[in-house]
C-alpha cells in the first residue's frame, strides 16, 4: 500500500539558492503532523511546493501514490489537499457566510447557464448547508452576516480553516496558524485542530510556536537549511540533540 502523503526528495532552487534540498518524509493518514525548523530552514518553501504554489525543481509529492507536485494550486486542491494562508488571508470584503460558501466551490461547481435558468437551486441549497455546517464546526455560525475583514483575529483564523473544511479536504495544510495568538486563543485553536483531525482530516502544520506543536502533533519533522534534521514523536524531537542545537544556534529556545 502507498503511503498517504509522501514528500520524496523534494528540491526547490531559486536562482543559485537551494531553499529545500532533497527533503523526504511521509505523513500518515489521520495524523497531525508538524513541520518545524529554525528561521530560514525552508519550511514555508516546502509548504508552498506541496500546495502547488511553487513547482518543485526536483523530487515529487505524492498523495496516495498519485503525483501532485507540479500541478497548479486549484488542481492540487481538487485532489483533496487544501491549504490555508499565513496571517488572516480571507475574502475580507465578503461576509463570513460568503467566505464559507467559497469553500464549497468544488463540491457544488457553479454554472452560468444553470444560474440564469434557475436549475441550480439544489446545488445552492447544498452549498449553503455545507457552508453553515463548516461555520458551526468552528463556532462561527453566529457571525455569518459579518464582514470577514471586521472579525477578531482568532475568528479570522478559524474562518480560514472553515473555508478549507467546507471543501471536504483529505489533507489540510496550515501555514503558521498560531502566529500572533495569545495563549488562550492558541489553546482554543488547538482544540479546533484536534476536532478537525477527529473528523477524519489529516493535518500538516508549519509552525514556529514550539509549545503548541509539541502539545498537538502526533509526529514532527524538523528541518534545517533545507534538509531533514530529525523526525519522530514530540518527546523524541524535544530531546533530540540536533534539534536543540539547531534551535539554539538559530537563537531560539525550545520551550
Amino acid at each position: 500500500m502507498n503511503p498517504f502523503l509522501e514528500i520524496d526528495r523534494l528540491t526547490m532552487r531559486f536562482g543559485g539558492l537551494t531553499a529545500v534540498d532533497g527533503l523526504s518524509f511521509t505523513v500518515e493518514h489521520g495524523a497531525i503532523h508538524g513541520l518545524i525548523g529554525p528561521n530560514g530552514a525552508g519550511k514555508t518553501t516546502t509548504f508552498n511546493a506541496i500546495s502547488g504554489f511553487y513547482r518543485p525543481s526536483g523530487g515529487e509529492v505524492r498523495l496516495r501514490g498519485e503525483v501532485i507536485s507540479g500541478l497548479s494550486m486549484h488542481e492540487v486542491a481538487r485532489r483533496g489537499v487544501i491549504r490555508t494562508f499565513q496571517h488572516s488571508t480571507l475574502f475580507a470584503e465578503m461576509t463570513v457566510l460568503e467566505n464559507a460558501l467559497m469553500g464549497t466551490h468544488m463540491a457544488f461547481r457553479p454554472n452560468v447557464f444553470a444560474a440564469i435558468v434557475g436549475w441550480d437551486r439544489e446545488d445552492r441549497r447544498g452549498a449553503y448547508a455545507r457552508a453553515v455546517e463548516a461555520l458551526e464546526f468552528f463556532g462561527l455560525e453566529g457571525l455569518r452576516g459579518e464582514r470577514a475583514g471586521d472579525l477578531a483575529h482568532g475568528h479570522q483564523r478559524a474562518l480560514g480553516m472553515a473555508i478549507a473544511y467546507a471543501a471536504h479536504p483529505d489533507v489540510v495544510l496550515l501555514d503558521e496558524p498560531f502566529t500572533g495568538m495569545n495563549p488562550e486563543e492558541t489553546t482554543r485553536m488547538m482544540e479546533l485542530m484536534r476536532k478537525l483531525r477527529d473528523s477524519g482530516v489529516t493535518i500538516l502544520i508549519v509552525e514556529h510556536d514550539m509549545h503548541a506543536i509539541m502539545g498537538l502533533c502526533d509526529r514532527i519533522t524538523c528541518m534545517s537549511f533545507g534538509k531533514l534534521l530529525a523526525e519522530g514523536g514530540p518527546a523524541e524531537i524535544r530531546s533530540h540533540p540536533d534539534v536543540i542545537e539547531a534551535y539554539l544556534g538559530g537563537a531560539r529556545h525550545v520551550s
Binding site: 486549484h74 465578503m94 444560474a115 449553503y128
Partner: protein
C-alpha cells in the same frame, strides 16, 4: 406578502415611466435616449468584466466587433437582422475567447495596456481592409430592423420611439440576465477571484478560467449592444470605437462606482443627461468636453466611490441568503 406586492407595484411604476418617457422628449432627445439605452448595456457588461478585478481598455472594440459582425452577416450573407444581432454577440464572445489566451497572462496595469493594444489592432484591421470592413469610411446602409406590427401597434424602426421600445426590451432582458449572473454562485466566485485570487485557488477555483468566463460573457453582451446600435444608426466606422469612446465608458463606470450593479448605470444616465441634454441645451457646444473633464476630475476627487456611494448611504445594503 406585502413586500412582494410593493416590489411589483414599484417595478410596474418604473416600467410605466420608461414606456411613457419618450413621449415627453423632443426628437433629438429621443435619439439620445436610444443611444443611452444601448450604452446602459455596454456599461453593465463592462462591470461584469471588472468584477474579477481586471480593467480592460478594449471593451468598446468588442462592442464594435458585434456591430461589424452583425452588419456584415446581414449585408454579405443576407441573414435576417434579429438573428444576425445574436450572431454578432456570439462573434464578440468568440473573439474575446481567442483574446483571453494572450491577455490573461497579464494582470493589472499590463492587462489594461494589453487589452488596449489588442483592441487597437482589431480596429486598425477594420481601417486597413476595405474588403470586407469598408476601410476608414466603414460600412454604410446597414439593414434596419424590419417593420412589424402587433395588432394595432405598428413599429417602424426608423422611428426612435419604436426602436427605443425594441432596444429597451432587449437591454432590460440582458440587464436582468447580468444581474442574475452576479447574484449567483458564479458571481460570488468572480468577487472572490478579485479580492483574493490565491485563496480562491486554494479552494479549487480555476482563477484563469473564471477570468476568461467573465471576459467572454461580458463580451457577448457588449457585442449585442454593438449590433443594436449598428442596425439603428445604419452606418459604422472604425473611429466610432476608438479609445476616446472607451474613455466615455470608463468615465460612466467610474463616476457611477463599481461596487454595485446599479453604480455604472447611474453613471451612464447622469453623465449622458448632463452632457447631451443640460450642456447642449445651455449652448456650451465647444465647452462640453471641458466641463465633462472637470466633472470627471471633481467626482474622482470628491466622490471616489462614485454616485452609488450616495445611494448606499441612504439604503443600507441587504445581504441575500438563499
Amino acid at each position: 406578502m406585502p413586500r412582494t406586492v410593493l416590489l411589483v407595484i414599484l417595478w410596474a411604476a418604473v416600467a410605466a415611466v420608461l414606456v411613457a418617457l419618450p413621449h415627453a422628449l423632443s426628437f433629438s432627445q429621443q435619439e439620445i435616449l436610444v443611444f443611452m439605452t444601448i450604452n446602459l448595456l455596454v456599461v453593465a457588461s463592462y462591470r461584469l468584466l471588472t468584477l474579477t478585478g481586471e480593467w480592460s481598455l478594449g471593451h468598446v472594440v468588442i462592442v464594435g466587433v458585434g456591430a461589424y459582425a452583425s452588419a456584415l452577416y446581414t449585408k454579405e450573407l443576407g441573414i435576417p437582422v434579429p438573428v444576425s444581432m445574436l450572431l454578432g454577440a456570439c462573434t464578440s464572445a468568440l473573439i474575446a475567447m481567442g483574446l483571453s489566451y494572450p491577455l490573461f497572462r497579464m494582470k493589472g496595469f499590463y492587462f489594461l495596456i494589453g487589452s488596449f493594444a489588442a483592441g487597437e489592432i482589431i480596429r486598425l484591421l477594420w481601417k486597413r481592409f476595405r474588403e470586407p470592413f469598408g476601410g476608414p469610411k466603414g460600412i454604410k446602409g446597414i439593414d434596419p430592423m424590419p417593420d412589424f406590427s402587433i395588432g394595432i401597434w405598428d413599429f417602424d424602426f426608423f422611428e426612435p420611439v419604436s426602436y427605443y421600445y425594441f432596444a429597451g426590451a432587449v437591454v432590460a432582458l440582458c440587464l436582468w440576465l447580468l444581474w442574475r449572473i452576479e447574484r449567483s454562485p458564479v458571481g460570488l466566485t468572480f468577487h472572490a477571484v478579485h479580492w483574493q485570487d490565491k485563496l480562491a485557488q486554494s479552494a479549487g477555483v480555476n482563477v484563469r478560467a473564471y477570468r476568461t468566463l467573465a471576459f467572454v460573457v461580458a463580451s457577448g453582451f457588449a457585442g449585442l449592444a454593438g449590433a443594436l446600435g449598428a442596425h439603428y444608426i445604419g452606418t459604422i466606422n472604425p473611429n466610432g470605437f476608438d479609445v476616446e469612446t472607451m474613455v466615455f465608458v470608463l468615465t460612466w463606470t467610474i463616476v457611477g462606482g463599481t461596487a454595485t450593479f446599479y453604480g455604472p448605470l447611474m453613471g451612464c444616465i447622469a453623465l449622458t443627461v448632463l452632457n447631451e441634454i443640460v450642456l447642449r441645451e445651455m449652448g456650451f457646444e465647444q465647452m462640453r468636453p471641458l466641463i465633462y473633464g472637470a466633472v470627471l476630475i471633481l467626482s474622482i476627487l470628491f466622490l471616489p466611490k462614485g454616485l452609488e456611494s450616495l445611494v448606499q448611504k441612504l439604503v443600507k445594503p441587504r445581504r441575500v441568503e438563499p
